[in-house]
Amino acid sequence: MTQALTADIFWELLQEVKDPEIPVISMIEMGMIGKVEVEGGVVTVDVLPTFVGCPAIEIMKKNIVEKLSTVEGVQDVQVNFVFEPAWSSDRITEEGREKLATFGIAPPPKVEVGDLMDVLCPFCNSANIQMDNLFGPAACRSILYCNDCKNPFEAIKPI
């Protein structure tokens, strides 16, 4: 017997679709999945880009389509990139924030755009850190330096 296609099935599967640049964290945990709708065999997923210019967007789309298409009865997977609601770093879940830290990336401070320094070193939890470079290897991240454990680390920008 084939199971009825419900949004819950796909939410569960989306938990397995990881951020291509931070493979420990899922797109759900990043707060990037806005909505999942199922109508007949068509699944529609609204994705909230972190940065408009993020080059990983197309890879995310491909990964979502591949993952959700594995479910029996799915005829088509539509991925829409939407700006309502707009992604904000506050959308990252608690689990997501913990996983970022284990990956060596400080989770974003829950503050307004601009106040970047209020993060802890993900390696030693020190607050004795400094900003090295606002723009790191990805637009959404900055490079900081820990003055205590002497490690450079990245932090997600508050946005």
Binding site: F51, V52, G53, C54, P55, F83, E84, A86, W87, V113, G114, D132, N133, L134, F135, G136, P137, A138, A139, I143, K157, I159
Partner: protein, 275 residues
């Protein structure tokens, strides 16, 4: 004040609105695209490696903004986004003169003698202008533009913060640095008026409620730029007049023609290739 147009489909049903919207989107897309291309020519040439990472990241984000505008044009039925970026003739570009200026003398593959002071000053004041333009879209009659501008505004603040570190330090540093920044400001100011010009569609932009007037946009920019001048300990220069010739109506320099030919060279070899 025109009624809010919520969707692409609604816009398509209103030819006058669609015309004005298309013209405005090309201006914004081409500004970001060409400046991002100029940024990409700096790859590997920035003063230090961390700046190289940061500058590339900002150029990429800026190009992403251009992509979003081209995709809106695609949704509106104007053409495929990739084709709009890479297959149009240079005279069909609607970018401002300021963004098409070369980075300096030479070429990125041979003898690049690029001017870092000019890069800092151009990107910083373009950044302030872009913030002003995004603000001027916040009450736009086209809802997708309102949403997009709000999102971009948050990102743009980081770009501006980055360039501000450079310009403030160099302008307040030793004599050579200050002279170079001063000269770069003079050069940027010669072209600055090109950013604010809406060209021959300007009246329609405002009539259709797409964006605030040129004067309102200038005022928003002036407030930000005056603060920037104070931070650099420069006397305020005032805003230049709009130029007689404008890229908004397709008048460009040989530098843009060369840039478009270079950036689209590979794509033109086989536009149907999958990437």
């Amino acid at each position: 004040m025109t009624a809010l147009i919520e969707t692409v489909e609604q816009a398509k049903g209103n030819p006058e609105f669609l015309n004005a919207l298309t013209a405005l989107l090309f201006q914004m897309a081409d500004d970001d695209f060409i400046l991002a291309y100029r940024g990409s020519e700096w790859l590997g040439l920035a003063p230090h490696i961390e700046e190289d990472v940061a500058f590339s990241s900002m150029s990429q984000d800026t190009m992403g903004h251009a992509v979003l505008f081209y995709e809106l044009l695609e949704d509106l039925g104007v053409g495929r986004a990739d084709d709009l970026a890479q297959l149009r003739d240079p005279q069909d570009f609607r970018n401002a003169l300021l963004v098409e200026r070369p980075n300096g003398t030479g070429h990125y593959v041979e003898n690049p003698r690029y001017d870092w002071a000019y890069a800092v000053v151009r990107w910083y004041f373009y950044g302030l202008f872009k913030q002003a333009r995004l603000e001027a879209l916040s009450n736009s009659s086209f809802k997708p533009l309102v949403l997009v501008s709000q999102k971009m505004m948050k990102e743009q603040r980081y770009h501006v913060m980055h360039w501000q570190v450079w310009i403030a330090q160099l302008a307040n540093s030793n004599e050579e640095a200050r002279t170079r920044i001063t000269n770069a400001v003079d050069r940027v100011w010669e072209d600055l008026g090109s950013l604010f010009a809406y060209g021959s569609h300007g009246a329609e932009f405002v009539k259709q409620g797409l964006i605030e007037s040129e004067d309102a946009l200038k005022q928003r920019f002036e407030e930000k730029a005056k603060k920037a001048f104070a931070m650099c300990n420069f006397d305020w220069k005032g805003l230049p007049q709009a130029p007689a010739q404008t890229g908004r109506d397709g008048q460009h320099t040989q530098d843009l023609i060369d840039a478009v030919n270079t950036l689209s060279e590979v794509y033109r070899l086989d536009p149907s290739a999958a990437w």
